[in-house]
């Protein structure tokens, strides 16, 4: 954190992030939602390991627990992507919840996605 930076930061998956198996669509956290907690900008970091040729990380937003998912950000990585790619996500005003999911675009080879979320408000 920069000196004098008093902003409220949250790392729902910790400073080093979380790993998601991308053999199928998996949502993190395993139950429930990530509470956006008033953040207007989210910094998503994504990378993957494995021999899959392509993977996609999807951030879905929800108005409440019964709402259908609406994607608010995507990140598609291929084997030539740098180790950590970044995306700045502008959160729709007032959106309370989100989930993170991972999709393997390679039907043959496996992948493990690593993602870090940094929320600032």
């Amino acid at each position: 954190m920069a000196e004098g930076d008093t902003r409220n930061r949250k790392y729902p998956f910790g400073l080093t992030g979380t790993a998601l198996d991308a053999g199928k669509t998996i949502q993190k956290p395993d139950s429930g939602f990530i509470n956006i907690d008033g953040a207007s900008v989210i910094w998503l970091t994504g990378s993957y390991t494995g021999s899959a040729t392509s993977v996609t990380i999807v951030v879905d937003g929800y108005a409440d627990e019964d709402d259908d998912a609406d994607p608010i950000a995507t990140m598609t990585l291929d084997s030539s992507s740098a180790e950590n790619m970044h995306a700045k996500i502008q959160v729709p005003p007032g959106l309370p919840f989100m989930t993170l999911s991972a999709k393997n675009n390679d039907s043959t080879n496996s992948a493990k996605i690593k993602s870090i979320i940094n929320m600032v408000r």
């Binding site: 999807v58 608010i72 995507t74 598609t76 291929d78 030539s80 790619m85 970044h86 502008q90």
Partner: protein, 187 residues
């Protein structure tokens, strides 16, 4: 991330090394810019003005399917997008050595929302349909797929049959704008 500055209802976009994508009806409208143009990196661009007042196949913004612009950067694989609340009035393009340099976008009124996604590589076309995956609504993670959350639908294929309506005065004469142009309404 793209941050257009609005002045006099106009703003400028830097297109050096990038591609401008317009979501247009069918493959034969706004050909150099529409979503079927592989990664959009065609050569042979010249200074040109696209206008909502025009129905010309090459320059008529009348053919925009949704008020959305995408800017693809094949070098970084980032895609900036702009969602307009109302139709774009005009886009003035400048080019050098056949490549796009800037676009000055003019709107009559309304707002613009900007966003960005990452898609590597932007020119991949896994189903070989001539439309890059990052602009293919059937591909999870693509821009049209993401924008479904905004209530947008981007179906390709041939141009639909359009209906026109004219404004006529009570005696059957054309009702014109203050500068003498006809009203043209797409229904």
């Amino acid at each position: 991330m793209l941050r257009p500055l609005l002045a006099n209802n106009k703003f400028s976009l830097d297109l050096v090394g990038k591609s401008l994508v317009i979501f247009a009806y069918g493959q034969d409208k706004l050909q150099k810019y529409n979503q079927w143009t592989e990664d959009g990196q065609k050569t042979g661009y010249t200074d040109e003005t696209l206008s909502i007042d025009s129905t010309a196949d090459d320059t008529g913004l009348f053919w925009m399917i949704r008020p959305v612009l995408a800017i693809l950067n094949p070098e970084t694989n980032y895609i900036d997008y702009l969602i307009f609340s109302h139709p774009i009035k005009s886009i003035k393009l400048t080019a050098e050595s056949g490549a796009l340099v800037t676009a000055v976008v003019e709107i009559a009124y309304g707002t613009v929302q900007v966003g960005q996604l990452f898609y590597a590589p932007v020119d991949r076309d896994i189903n070989s349909d001539g439309k890059p995956d990052c602009l293919d609504s059937s591909i999870i993670g693509s821009l049209p797929w993401l924008l479904k959350g905004h209530g947008f639908s981007y179906e390709g294929g041939p141009a639909p049959v359009l209906k026109y309506a004219q404004f006529l005065t009570a005696d059957g004469k054309k009702f014109l704008t203050a500068d003498g142009k006809e009203f043209l309404v797409r229904a």
